[in-house]
């Protein structure tokens, strides 16, 4: 079975002015979005108290909110955790003055029991399923750790491509990677999906995923340059994208299928992860096709840059 016409020769490079313009626009829009509407950081980052409540019968989020406001918890954030019986409640410890002692130490158990009592006034079937306290300090550290990890990934990949391919490939890949991460974060900011620790892990995994796609195209570019007698860069780049198009899309589909399964069956704990990964797959796939190669072309890649095949490389390539 084949979905793609293997003789296809879509002029992807021909539309490079438009595709790059769109990519640039998306990046700027994402930055603006991140500034105007910052990421909806979860407890892991902001610090605070979070509880998961379980009801025997289904419950309306608005009712939970109303019950909490009645009990004096005005700033509590209530969210459904998929289904109608489970809700998550997030708040800052200062919303429950009694539970914070003079040294700023927070009594999580007291807050949890206060909230539970408040909810049970109107709904006796409410049950406390889990509770968590994170101090702001730990949250801030996670943010900086995450940034360091992202920079480490991007630099590591750049170094590898620089050695295995050539400077221009490394720069093109990293520029596209930054585009992918920014746009993914921009979409998360736009939709105001909760940004928690698993989403951070997912964003880092998106980097790993989308670099895969780029490397496959780059590999083909290198191969075609070496084979071709008369190498017209634009033509070679375009042919490489077309040759690998079927693989790019099939792999994305397969990965998207598994992430769909994770989203629909994995439960609320991995929702954020699956959604972020799905966004990343779409963004990464599109940028592999439309963005990475035009950058490479502009950087002026040519046959002679890739020619002297080192001995190690040819040996590596021969292994099965």
């Amino acid at each position: 079975m084949e979905i793609f016409n293997h003789d296809s020769n879509i002029p992807f490079l021909g539309m490079r002015k438009y595709s790059i313009a769109i990519a640039l626009f998306l990046m700027i829009a994402s930055i603006v979005m991140l500034v105007v509407k910052p990421l909806n950081y979860a407890l892991d980052f902001t610090g605070g108290v979070s509880m998961v409540m379980d009801y025997d019968q289904s419950v309306e989020i608005s009712d939970v909110r109303a019950a909490l406001e009645k009990g004096g918890f005005d700033h509590a954030l209530v969210q459904s955790l998929g289904g109608t019986r489970e809700v998550s409640i997030r708040m800052q410890p200062k919303d429950d003055q009694k539970a914070v002692d003079a040294n700023g130490k927070v009594n999580l158990d007291l807050i949890a029991s206060d909230v539970l009592k408040t909810l049970q006034v109107s709904r006796p079937d409410a049950k406390l399923k889990s509770r968590e306290l994170v101090t702001a300090e730990v949250g801030a550290e996670l943010k900086s750790d995450g940034t360091v990890a992202a920079v480490f990934v991007i630099l590591g990949i750049m170094a590898y491509l620089w050695i295995r391919f050539e400077r221009r490939f490394a720069i093109a890949a990293v520029a596209t990677e930054i585009h992918d991460v920014l746009v993914t974060l921009g979409i998360l900011a736009l939709t105001q999906r909760e940004f928690d620790m698993t989403v951070l892990a997912s964003v880092l995994a998106v980097i790993g995923y989308s670099i895969n796609d780029k490397v496959v195209v780059f590999d083909r570019i290198r191969e075609l340059f070496r084979l071709a007698r008369k190498a017209e860069p634009e033509e070679i780049l375009n042919r490489s994208i077309n040759n690998t198009l079927s693989r790019t899309i099939i792999t994305s589909l397969f990965t998207a299928i598994t992430m769909g399964a994770l989203y629909f069956f994995g439960g609320s704990a991995v929702h954020g992860f699956a959604v972020t990964m799905l966004i990343g797959i779409v963004v990464g796939t599109l940028s592999s096709i439309f963005v990475a190669s035009p950058i490479l072309l502009w950087l002026g890649v040519s046959k002679k840059d890739l020619m002297p095949v080192t001995k190690e490389n040819s040996e590596l390539a021969r292994r099965p």
Binding site: M1, Y160, G208, N212, V215, I250, M259, F265
Partner: protein
């Protein structure tokens, strides 16, 4: 086409076998059990205890699947967590204080699997419920103590060496060291030599002079400071372990995280109050003159009648619970103790504990022991636990103090700064005593910075959902690959299935704790592992279109795809590696899973499928390929 060497077939078969065997333990669900262990002074676990437990359970109509003695402990297994909980309550009530009763997930893996080291993956708290704490250790406290102690020591040293000094003061800023002010340049150089010779952990430098004040700056060497911070953590870890063991949780996880944090995870516990109380406990030590021996007639008499001499306290020995009389006079407190370590005494061959005191403590200890050779000296362990009580409708924290005697020994000869306690029962007793001595004196204060309670039902929910997601993700990809690439797709399916098996096997063997992010990592690995096969299949198709014969197409497909697969996986591996460097447990678990998954998929998608493809197509003459 038989360019696929025979040893590679063997390797593939071996790896598949390895995967199946070492992944197998995960198929055996652990049993919910209650574990009973005897405390030191209680009678050991035997058949009579087993009957007692059995009888207690039967009388309360609680059905246990089994009650059996296993070595030094007793295990009662139950069918569900509710029965397990009520079972534990009944057993606790029936046995009293002499025994520790704890929840346990008892491995159900057959003995032959365990014999070859196969075991199931430990589950994270999000998969089995429990409480977790993240604690920040205040290492500065340890540094403060050490700097103060050195200031003391320097004063004593200068006095001993008859070097006149104006003052020895610790800088108010931490890690800025101690300023020693002397009266002449000659004194200063002798003092500098003396200090540098005596204390190798100190850096000594001349400071600015003002008039006839000659300043010597003494700072603790950076290596020593680092070691201090490190040992503050290690000591706290040890102390926490000891305290949490008393809680009776089986297999608690107590680990260092980052430079200054300790993470504690107690699976199966739903009420964190007891644990928090222990973590917040403050313990100190007091060396005090003993009166008589533990359990002698005078002490027994005092315990029976309650008439205690006015200058004494009646305490109990830790462990044996014998009454002992101890004088109210305090010789040295734990604050003056610098170090305690356990070892074996060279002369007697018995376990011992070496104790080092600071200068002030050493002087007092010297004065006392000189006058009291042959008399007993007791170590009193004072533990202060804060309990929350409701008084007049308000919650107040009330300290509850428990005092026990952890050691009672005769003074063999006078000593001061360094001394040892010998004749301890076992190396374990010695290390426990050393830990207690240090725990009381040196443990840096800790703050809880993160805390969570995960309900047991939430854990079971997550297991079910995670399992469903993995199975469904796998099934869908298997189906899609088979439809799209036909026979080659089926071969890729075999590889993908074995990738999951081998991934689980490696994770189990290393002992990676499985968490929900880890499950997400497994699912993601499944989706991405197929990529290598997509690359190979697309290549083979391409070669066929270019007019290659089927055998040549397979060979070229694998050869040409390899370098792409390698590059793609190495870059992916770099990303996974970065994830594992993140300190946080959840992300780390995901990163480790991803990393192992990339490595196993490299083998299964390339070598394993190649073996199967070669096996299927072999030497047969082929007209077409089913790809």
């Amino acid at each position: 086409m038989s360019d696929f060497p025979r040893w590679k077939y063997a390797l593939v078969a071996l790896v598949m076998l390895f995967g199946v065997i070492y992944a197998l333990p995960n198929a055996f669900r652990p049993l919910l059990a209650v574990q009973v262990t005897a405390n030191r002074d209680a009678p050991p676990i035997d058949q009579s205890l087993q009957q007692k437990v059995q009888a207690a359970l039967t009388s309360k109509n609680i059905a246990a699947s089994a009650v059996a003695v296993e070595g030094d402990h007793l295990l009662a297994t139950f069918t569900n967590s509710d029965v397990q909980k009520s079972g534990a309550d009944v057993i606790k009530a029936a046995l009293g204080d002499g025994y520790t009763v704890a929840f346990k997930l008892q491995s159900n893996v057959p003995a032959w699997l365990r014999a070859i080291g196969a075991r199931s993956m430990p589950l994270g708290l999000d998969l089995q419920g429990g409480v977790h704490f993240l604690m920040q250790v205040d290492q500065n406290d340890a540094i403060d103590k050490q700097e103060n102690s050195y200031a003391d020591d320097i004063r004593t040293l200068l006095r001993q060496k008859n070097i006149r000094y104006e003052s020895v003061t610790r800088n108010t800023v931490r890690e800025q060291g101690i300023a020693v002010i002397l009266r002449s340049p000659e004194d200063r150089s002798t003092a500098a030599d003396a200090i540098a010779n005596e204390y190798t952990d100190l850096n000594v430098a001349n400071g600015a002079n003002t008039g006839d004040r000659f300043v010597l700056n003494v700072v603790i060497k950076p290596e020593k400071l680092r070691e201090l911070s490190r040992s503050a953590i290690t000591q706290n870890l040890g102390t926490l372990r000891n305290r949490i063991n008393a809680l009776g949780v089986s297999e608690p996880l107590i680990q260092q995280q980052g430079d200054s944090r300790i993470v504690v995870e107690l699976a199966g516990v739903q009420d964190p109050t007891e644990a928090k109380k222990l973590i917040g406990a403050v313990a100190t030590l007091q060396y005090r003159p003993g009166i008589g021996q533990a359990g002698d007639a005078q002490a027994q008499e005092a315990a029976r009648t309650g008439s205690i001499p006015p200058d004494a306290n009646l305490y109990r020995m830790r462990g044996s619970n014998l009454p002992v009389l101890v004088s109210k006079q305090i010789i040295v407190t734990g604050n003056q103790l610098v170090d305690a370590s356990s070892g074996i005494d060279q002369q007697s061959g018995t376990p011992k504990v070496d104790v080092t005191l600071n200068a002030a403590g050493a002087k007092k200890m010297g004065d006392f022991t000189n006058a009291n050779v042959g008399k007993p000296m007791a170590v009193v362990y004072v533990e202060q636990v804060y309990e929350t009580k409701v008084v007049d409708g308000k919650e107040v924290r009330v300290p509850k103090v428990t005092e026990t005697v952890i050691n009672d020994a005769s003074i063999a000869s006078p000593f001061s700064k360094q001394f040892q306690t010998t004749g301890l029962g076992s190396p374990k007793e010695a290390s426990d005593l050393a830990l207690l001595l240090k725990g009381g004196a040196l443990a840096a204060p800790m703050d809880i910075v993160e805390e969570g309670v995960i309900g047991a039902s939430l854990g079971q929910d997550n297991i079910d959902k995670g399992f469903k997601a993995v199975m469904l993700g796998l099934a869908l990809v298997l189906l899609a690959a088979a439809v799209y690439y036909k026979l080659f797709g089926l071969v890729a399916d075999i590889a993908l299935f074995f990738n999951l098996v081998i991934l689980l096997a490696v994770m189990s063997l290393i002992g990676v704790t499985l968490t929900m992010p880890g499950v997400a990592g497994i699912v993601l690995t499944l989706g991405m592992a197929i990529d290598a096969n997509v690359l190979i299949c697309e290549r083979v198709r391409e070669e066929l279109r270019n007019g290659s014969t089927p055998h040549a197409a397979i060979r070229a497909g694998y050869e040409k795809a390899w370098s792409t697969i390698l590059d793609a996986n190495v870059t992916h591996l770099i990303a996974a590696l970065a994830l594992t460097t993140m300190g946080t447990g959840a992300i780390k678990g995901f990163g480790v899973t991803l990393m192992i998954g990339i490595l196993t998929s490299l083998f299964t998608s390339v070598t394993l499928t190649h073996a199967f493809t070669a096996l299927i197509h072999g030497h047969r003459k082929l007209k077409t390929l089913s790809v």
